[in-house]
């Protein structure tokens, strides 16, 4: 782990959810410092963000401003500096949960989409899509739910125009197709929030547009989306833009 644990006392407000708010996901004054060799590099310096239920929010910022880190913290893939800020999901601080609860949170509550797709090369399209559904299943319970799992994955892929690619390996697909598989995987367990890290960053404009259309469709269906991007035009597709600079949220559009 490359994170650095700080022991200095925090000066921020105690981590409690403000009363009456209807935010589904909330980062409150979080700090994150990475250690590069012997130097501590602060990435987030008291960033706060509130995400409402059903909202599509874009986090805009230049490279290295900490936007991906913020996304990782929201998805509990990484933890903020101890005692320095807190992430809430539906009012509950997520970093006070047990390990298995946190694994479950990543598996069921949020879905990640990455810039570089991150598909498993040994698995075919269908298997890549349903792998989150296998987590936590025993061999026995898998066989009980097998048909249901396969049907759900196939439906998702079909709706994304990949019905004829089920048995293909990721390396046999184009970039746009790969990203669609990645989105299908993220949606497999019907998460509450989709966390997308530069989802079009590796694609040409047309293909990127198709991916954004796909996200917009999911958003219309009620999915909450947090999307990180450095491209203002892409950010424009979201309901709201949060601009991040030097580890802090500077503007909320």
């Amino acid at each position: 782990m490359s994170e650095t644990r700080r022991t200095t006392p925090t000066t921020t407000a105690p981590p409690t959810q403000p009363a009456g708010a209807d935010f589904i996901l909330r980062a409150h004054d979080v700090y994150k410092t990475y250690r590069m060799g012997r130097v501590d590099v602060p990435v987030l310096k008291g960033a706060s963000i509130d995400v409402k239920q059903g909202e599509w929010i874009a986090v805009l910022g230049a490279s290295g401003c900490g936007k991906s880190t913020l996304l990782h913290l929201l998805g509990d893939l990484d933890q903020s500096d101890p005692g320095k800020g807190e992430i809430f999901f539906e009012g509950e601080p997520i970093n006070r949960r047990t390990r298995s609860q946190r694994n479950l949170y990543r598996n069921r509550t949020v879905g990640f989409v990455f810039q570089f797709y991150h598909l498993l090369p040994e698995l075919n399209v269908l298997e890549n899509t349903f792998i989150p559904a296998l987590v936590g299943l025993t061999r026995f319970s898998y066989y009980a739910k097998r048909q249901e799992i396969h049907r759900r994955a196939e439906e998702l892929l079909q709706s994304f125009g990949l019905g004829d690619r089920l048995k293909h390996r990721p390396q046999e697909l184009s970039g746009g197709e790969r990203q669609r598989v990645a989105i299908a995987r993220a949606l497999m367990n019907q998460p509450r929030v989709l966390l997308a890290d530069e989802p079009t960053g590796n694609l040409d404009e047309n293909t990127g547009g198709e991916i954004l259309d796909l996200l917009a469709e999911q958003h219309r269906a009620g999915l909450t989306i947090v999307m990180v991007t450095h491209d203002r035009s892409i950010a424009g597709r979201a309901d709201r833009i949060v601009e991040l600079s030097q580890g802090r949220v500077v503007t909320i559009d």
Partner: protein, 544 residues
Amino acid sequence: MYHVVLTNRYLTSRVIPLIAVGAVALCAALVMIVVSVMSGFLDMVRDSGRTLMGDVVIELAVEGIPYYEDLIKRIEALDESEAASPLVDSFGMLQMPYPQGDNKQSEYVQFWGIEPESFARVTGYADTLYWRELDDQERRTAPQWDLRRQLTPQVLKDGLTLHDSRSDRPGIVLGMHVSKANERMPEGGYHPMGDGYWWMPAFDVTLVTIPTRTIGGQVEPESFIFPVVNEFVSGVFQIDDVRVKIPLEVGQRMLHLDEAELVDPDDPFTVIGTDPARVSKILIRAADGVSPNQLRDRVIRLYDEWVMEYAERDDLIVTPPTREFGLSIRTWEQVQARFIGPVEKERDLMRILFSIVYVVCAALVLTIFWAIVHEKTRDIGILRSVGCSRIGISLIFLRYGLVIGVLGSVLGLILAFIIVRNVNTIHDAIGRDAPVWSWVTAFGFAAVSLMMTILATRREHMLPVVLWSLGTIAMFGLGIILLFHRGTLVWDPTVYYFDAIPNTLDVPNAIVTIIGAILFSVLGAFIPAAKAADTDPVEALRYE
């Protein structure tokens, strides 16, 4: 469930696990083969000890054991014993009928004077006699040159009684390698040289020895001419090379251990009694279910009582020696200790040395797994992002190790079984010049490989060129080796004690090896698995 899917996919879609399985299989097979041969060798030493001398041996060299007939009677009356047999033994020179005329070659021999009937009951003597009539079944499979096709039952009978029925004289039975006339054939079996001319039972030999028991006076050598009646194969080269068997009475006479008059040392003309006949050894066979150690302890008790009883008798001038005077009562294992000991030590040493092979195996699996985990770092990040636990991820790699261990050791077992079973065939093949087809085939493959190399150079890729070139070099090298290979005797019976390599798989050892290989494979996977579990998902996902 995802571990099962991923383990299966990782195993079936890459070459690395195949290499790991191959490495584990080779290591396991190596250990199993070496220990099996060593254990087999040890068992052969043990078995031969037993078939050659029974279970317990009473021994008093030079002096000899008097009143042995009475002692044997008492021993045979014991519940613990099956049979007992007296013998005298010493060293001598045997004048062979060859090379020609009066020019006789002498061989150094160790002769045993035996009582054939009781000796056969104590040891496996009858089964060791080589020259006998073949039964119908054997006659069908025996090669044409086999002299035994022409023999009558009398040859075996003469060997069993140590009596030459044609000349009505006491006969001698030679170890198969005592005469230099017998040649071991590649098909198995022996054939006398000169196309059967030098068949020993057709000749006489002269045994010359120095009497061991001499009371004063000058020592004169004793000699005796025997007709050879048969030859024996015990399977132990060192014995078949030097030992001959003659009737007990003749042996006793030659060694001056037969019954004699005892004269007054001060007055050589006054006979004061009888010096009883003696033997230098009594061989005893244990009854079924009695261990050699139990029998030995019982015989020691009996002997001590017997000596006490004789010591109290007034009518005897000569009394049996007590155990303090060099008389030993030992089990065959103790007698053979100088053979068994080193072999046992060698086997243990081999076990230790080859345990290093296990460690190499674990290191190999560790390296391979390390490479796999390194390569799979990104996958681990992905799996963590979809909610897989650390334990779940480490389980993928532990399962991987387990499967490789199980597959590798089972393959190793099969390989070891095939090699151990055919070890003598393989050895004989190495012992001969390579057949023409073998090197022609190798050169043929080399030519095909070379052609493929040339074809591969036309394409863009480097790997096929390298692989086909290596194939060409390997096949060409093999062809050259086979072409110039001249028979090499690896297992030289004069060095290795037995004339065949043991060829049974040591099952308990194989089980231990399999468990060890699986354990080490899992252990080898443990560290990379822990490393995988500790991988920071953010770090793992950072780059494409």
